[in-house]
C-alpha cells in the first residue's frame, strides 16, 4: 500500500515541477516582463490594466494609438485608413485591410485561421452588447450606436442570443467595409475603438470554447499565447500567421522631434514584431520584482516606493553602479489622478462645501511627495496636466494650514470640534485594498494631515468587491480611488462629475450640479477646438471650487530597463506596444 501511494504521488509531483530552466539561446530572444494578476483573455469581460495589456498583444482593433507621435493620435491598424466621416458627424465608414487572418487554432475548420471580414467586427461589438455575455465594456457603447440598445434588449430573451439580428447602425456593407452610425455626434468614439473593447474576436472561438474562451485567446495580433500558468507566467510567441500571410506591419518611419536622436528610429520601416517571444511573470510584490530584475530575471521593472533610495540619487539620477551595469531609467507621467472622493450624498461632507475646502487645504502635497519619494506630482485639477483644459496656475486649495483652520471654523467645526458631540469631528475613509502597504502608509499620512486641523480620520480597509459595493450603495463617506484615463481627452475625466453618471456609474462622488451638466453636454459633442478647451477649463474650475474630490496626486512611473531592451518609448496607453521593442543580443558572459 505504501508503495502504491508513492507510485501515485511521486510522478504527479515530479511531472508538475520538473521543467528545466530555459536555455541561453532562448533567453536571449525573450523579453522578460512582470505583470500583475490578470483576469483572463476575454476582451469583453476584463476591465483592468494588466489584462488589457496582455489582451492587446493577441487581439487587435480597427484603430490604434500612435507609438512615437506626440500628441497622441489615432492611426489605422486593421482598418486600411482612417474612417470617412459624414458631414453630420454621425456616420463612419471603415475600409478593412486585405489579407488579415486570425491565428491558426483548432476552432477553425482544418485548424487554419481564416480571413477577417467586416462581419467579425459587427459580431465583436454585438457581443459586448449581449446581455448574456455580461461585458464590462457596455458603458463604452451604451446609447452610442443606432439600434445597438435594441439588440441588447432582444438579447435578454431566453435561449442563445440571435446574432443575425440586424443592428441599424452597425453594418458590414461588403466583406471589407464596415459602417457605424452613431445616435449623436461623439468624436471620442474613435478612441473607444482603440481600446480593448474594440478588438475583433472570431465567432468560432467564442462558440467552441464557451466558458473557457477566456483562457484560449484567438486573435489577429503580433503574438499568440503559447503557455499560461495562471498566477505564475504567460508566454507569448510571434504569431506565425503574420509571416505566412505576408502581413506588412512596419515600424513607424517618423516620430516626435528628437526621437531619431534617442535612437528610436533605428528600426524605421522594419517588419514587426521585432521580438520573438515575451514571457510575463505574475509578480505582485515590489521587493521580489526588484530582486528578480537585479538578477536579470526581468528586463524591465517599475521602481517601487521603497526601492527608491537604492536606485536614484538625491538629484533623481540613476546611481553610478546601476549605470555601469547598463541599466537605464525612464521617467514618464501617467494619465491618472489619485484622489479622495467625498460622497456628496453624505450628510456631513456632502452638504458642507467649506468643510471640503478646508480638508483640501490641509493636504500637504510636499510631505505627500516625500512619502512617495518624488514619484508623484501634485494634482491641482481634475484634468491631468498632460491634457488640454488643465490650468497650471489655477490652484486655490494649495496647502495652507491657517486657511484650512479658518475654513474649518467657518464650516461649523472650530478647531475641529463637532458642536453636536463636543469632540473632534470624525470622518471615515474607505479603501479598496487591505494588503497593499503603500496604500496603507499613504492613508495613514492623510490621517496625520487631518489631525493637524483637529479632524480624526478613521481608516476602513475593504477588499475590492466590498469596496465597490459600498460606493455603489453610496455608503462610503470618503473613499480613496484613482481614475486612469482611457483616452487622451479631458472628457474622460470630466464625465466623472456628470450628474447622470452618479453611482453606480463613474461619478462615484455623486456630484450633481445642473450648471456643470449643461456645460458638459455641450462640450461632449464638440470637435477638438480652442472653444472646447476653454469649456473644459471652465468645467474644471467648477469642480475645483466645489471640491467633490480632494485631489492628491498624479503618479509618475519610474521604470528601469536593461540596456539590451531598445525602442522603449514611454507611452500613456502602453497596450500591445511590445511589438515595437527590440532586444539586442546579450554580451557574452
Amino acid at each position: 500500500m505504501r508503495r502504491i501511494a508513492a507510485l501515485i504521488l511521486l510522478p504527479l509531483a515530479l511531472g508538475c515541477a520538473g521543467r528545466l530552466e530555459e536555455d541561453a539561446a532562448l533567453r536571449d530572444r525573450t523579453l522578460y516582463l512582470s505583470t500583475l494578476r490578470i483576469r483572463g483573455f476575454d476582451p469583453a469581460k476584463v476591465s483592468d490594466v494588466p489584462s488589457a495589456q496582455a489582451i492587446q498583444r493577441v487581439y487587435e482593433g480597427l484603430l490604434q494609438i500612435s507609438y512615437l507621435d506626440r500628441p497622441y493620435r489615432l492611426e489605422p491598424l486593421l482598418a486600411d485608413s482612417m474612417p470617412e466621416r459624414s458631414a453630420d458627424g454621425l456616420r463612419y465608414t471603415f475600409r478593412l485591410r486585405r489579407g488579415l487572418y486570425f491565428a491558426d487554432d483548432p476552432c477553425f475548420p482544418g485548424g487554419r485561421g481564416r480571413e477577417v471580414t467586416a462581419e467579425d467586427f459587427v459580431y465583436s461589438i454585438k457581443r459586448i452588447a449581449d446581455r448574456k455575455v455580461g461585458s464590462s465594456g457596455w458603458w463604452a457603447f451604451d446609447g452610442r450606436i443606432r439600434g445597438l440598445n435594441a439588440f441588447r434588449e432582444a438579447s435578454s430573451a431566453s435561449g442563445p442570443t440571435d446574432y443575425t439580428l440586424p443592428v441599424e447602425g452597425l453594418r458590414a456593407i461588403d466583406p471589407h467595409t464596415l459602417v457605424i452610425e452613431l445616435t449623436a455626434p461623439y468624436p471620442q468614439f474613435l478612441w473607444i475603438l482603440a481600446m480593448h473593447y474594440g478588438v475583433v474576436v472570431p465567432r468560432e472561438a467564442v462558440e467552441t470554447y464557451g466558458d473557457r474562451f477566456s483562457s484560449r485567446p484567438v486573435g489577429t495580433g503580433p503574438y499568440r499565447l503559447t503557455e499560461w500558468k495562471r498566477n505564475y507566467r504567460m508566454v507569448f510567441e510571434r504569431n506565425p500567421k503574420w509571416a505566412e500571410t505576408g502581413r506588412g506591419d512596419r515600424y513607424p518611419v517618423s516620430g516626435e522631434a528628437g526621437d531619431a536622436e534617442r535612437g528610436l528610429l533605428a528600426d524605421a520601416g522594419k517588419s514587426l514584431p521585432l521580438i520573438d517571444r515575451i514571457v510575463s511573470y505574475v509578480v505582485a510584490d515590489p521587493a521580489t520584482q526588484w530582486m528578480m530584475f537585479l538578477r536579470g530575471q526581468l528586463l524591465e521593472t517599475d521602481i517601487a516606493r521603497d526601492n527608491w533610495s537604492v536606485v536614484v540619487d538625491a538629484q533623481g539620477a540613476l546611481l553610478p553602479e546601476l549605470q555601469a551595469r547598463g541599466i537605464q531609467l525612464v521617467v514618464a507621467p501617467q494619465l491618472r489622478i489619485t484622489y479622495v472622493g467625498f460622497n456628496m450624498d453624505d450628510p456631513v461632507v456632502g452638504t458642507n462645501r467649506l468643510l471640503r475646502q478646508a480638508l483640501s487645504s490641509a493636504f500637504n502635497a510636499g510631505e505627500w511627495i516625500k512619502l512617495n519619494n518624488g514619484r508623484v506630482r501634485p494634482a491641482i485639477s481634475p484634468i491631468p496636466s498632460a491634457l488640454p483644459g488643465h490650468e497650471a496656475d489655477y490652484a486655490p486649495w494649495r496647502y495652507d494650514l491657517e486657511r484650512a483652520k479658518r475654513l474649518l471654523a467657518e464650516a461649523g467645526y472650530p478647531e475641529g470640534r463637532d458642536p453636536a458631540t463636543g469632540r473632534r469631528l470624525e470622518l471615515t475613509l474607505d479603501l479598496g485594498r487591505a494588503d497593499d502597504l503603500e496604500l496603507r502608509q499613504s492613508a495613514e499620512l492623510l490621517t496625520a494631515f487631518f489631525e493637524r486641523i483637529g479632524v480624526v480620520l478613521r481608516l476602513q480597509f475593504n477588499n475590492g468587491p466590498a469596496f465597490y459595493e459600498k460606493l455603489e450603495r453610496r455608503q462610503a463617506q470618503l473613499f480613496y480611488l484613482s481614475w486612469i484615463g482611457d483616452y487622451p481627452d479631458a472628457e474622460n475625466f470630466l464625465q466623472c462629475f456628470y450628474g447622470p453618471n452618479a453611482s453606480p456609474g463613474s461619478n462615484r462622488a455623486n456630484y450633481r450640479n445642473p450648471a456643470f451638466d449643461a456645460l458638459f453636454e455641450r462640450a461632449r459633442g464638440m470637435e477638438d477646438s480652442p472653444e472646447r478647451t476653454a469649456l473644459y477649463a471652465e468645467l474644471a474650475r467648477i469642480v475645483i471650487e466645489d471640491c467633490p474630490w480632494l485631489l492628491l496626486s498624479e503618479p509618475l512611473t519610474y521604470t528601469l530597463h536593461h540596456e539590451r531592451l531598445r525602442n522603449r518609448k514611454p507611452h500613456l496607453f502602453s497596450f500591445g506596444m511590445e511589438k515595437y521593442y527590440r532586444l539586442e543580443a546579450s554580451a557574452p558572459r
Binding site: 521587493a287 526601492n307 512619502l371 494588503d435 502597504l437 502608509q441 495613514e444
Partner: protein, 291 residues
C-alpha cells in the same frame, strides 16, 4: 508570594516564563490604559504621532527601537501591539473555551442524541481546512479585530470540546458522580459543582497553549490585511518592516520578531510545564500545525 517563591525554587524555568508573561501583561495593560486615556481625552496618542522628516531612523536615544516609514516610534508601537496581542489571546479564548467546555460537558455527560449532535457538529468543523476557514470567517465578519476574534474563536473550540467530552465520560462513571446522582442532584448541579472542577486543569492547559497560537494567527492575518485596522499590531508592523528590510532597515523587523518570539516561547514552555504537572496524559490535539 510564598508559593511563587516555592515555584521558583522547584521550577525555575516555569517561574521565569511566568515572570516574562507578567511583564508582557503589564505592558498590555499599560497600552490599554494609554489607549483609553487618549480616547477619553480625545487626543492623538504618541504612538500615532507621525513626522515624515524622521522616517526610517535607526535606534537612538530618542527612539530606542528606531522609527518607521512615517517617522513613528517603533518602541511605542511595539508596546501598543502587546495590547492587541493580549486582546486577541484573551477574547478568542473567551469565545472558544466556554463553547468547547459546555458542549464537551453536555456531550460527555448526557450521551445519546445530544452526544451524536455535538460529535456531528465538531466533526463538521474539524473537517474544514482550518486556516482557510478562519480567513473566510474573518472576511464574513468584516475586516478588523471582530473578524479575527470570531475566526479564531469559532474554529478552535473543537479541540477543547473533544478533550472535555472524553474526560467527562470518564468522570460520569466515577463513584462520586454516581453518588451525586443517587442523591438526586440535578444534572446542571452535578456538571457545574462536581465534574467541572475536576476537568478545570484541561481548561488551564489548553488556555496556555491556545494563547500563543492565537497570537501567531493574528500576526498572520494582519499580515494578509485581514486584521486590525487603525491600531498598531505586530502583524502589521512585521509586514511594513519587510518592505525596506533588504535596504538595511532591520530594526522594526528584528524587535517585533523578538517580542513575538519571547512571548510565545514563554507561553509554550509554561504550557508544557503545566501539562506535565497537572495531567501528563494530555497530548497535543494533533501533530504539527500547518499554515
Amino acid at each position: 508570594m510564598k508559593r511563587l517563591l516555592q515555584l521558583g525554587r522547584a521550577q525555575p524555568l516555569a517561574a521565569v516564563c511566568l515572570l516574562i508573561i507578567a511583564c508582557y501583561a503589564g505592558l498590555a495593560l499599560f497600552g490599554e490604559l494609554t489607549y483609553r486615556w487618549h480616547e477619553w481625552r480625545d487626543t492623538t496618542p504618541a504612538y500615532q504621532q507621525q513626522d515624515i522628516s524622521r522616517q526610517y531612523q535607526p535606534p537612538s536615544r530618542d527612539h530606542w527601537m528606531g522609527t518607521d516609514g512615517l517617522g513613528r516610534d517603533v518602541f511605542l508601537r511595539l508596546v501598543q501591539g502587546t495590547r492587541i496581542a493580549f486582546h486577541v489571546g484573551i477574547v478568542t479564548s473567551c469565545i472558544a473555551i466556554p463553547i468547547g467546555v459546555l458542549f464537551g460537558l453536555l456531550a460527555g455527560y448526557f450521551g445519546g442524541r445530544i452526544d451524536d449532535f455535538i460529535v456531528w457538529l465538531y466533526s463538521t468543523f474539524a473537517a474544514i481546512p482550518g486556516l482557510l476557514f478562519i480567513l473566510a470567517i474573518a472576511m464574513v465578519a468584516g475586516k478588523g479585530l471582530t473578524g479575527v476574534y470570531l475566526g479564531i474563536g469559532l474554529t478552535t473550540w473543537v479541540g477543547i470540546c473533544r478533550l472535555v467530552r472524553a474526560e467527562t465520560m470518564k468522570h460520569r462513571e466515577r463513584a462520586y458522580v454516581q453518588a451525586a446522582r443517587v442523591l438526586g442532584f440535578s444534572a446542571p448541579r452535578i456538571l457545574a459543582r462536581h465534574i467541572l472542577p475536576n476537568i478545570l486543569h484541561i481548561v488551564i492547559v489548553t488556555f496556555t497553549l491556545r494563547f500563543p497560537a492565537s497570537i501567531g494567527t493574528e500576526v498572520f492575518m494582519s499580515f494578509l490585511g485581514l486584521g486590525v485596522q487603525g491600531e498598531p499590531s505586530w502583524g502589521l508592523m512585521l509586514n511594513s518592516a519587510r518592505t525596506r528590510l533588504w535596504q538595511g532597515v532591520w530594526w522594526e523587523m528584528a524587535f517585533v520578531t523578538l517580542a513575538v518570539f519571547l512571548l510565545v516561547l514563554a507561553f509554550n514552555v509554561l504550557g508544557d510545564r503545566l501539562r506535565d504537572a497537572l495531567d501528563p496524559r494530555l497530548r497535543d490535539g494533533g501533530g504539527p500545525e500547518r499554515n
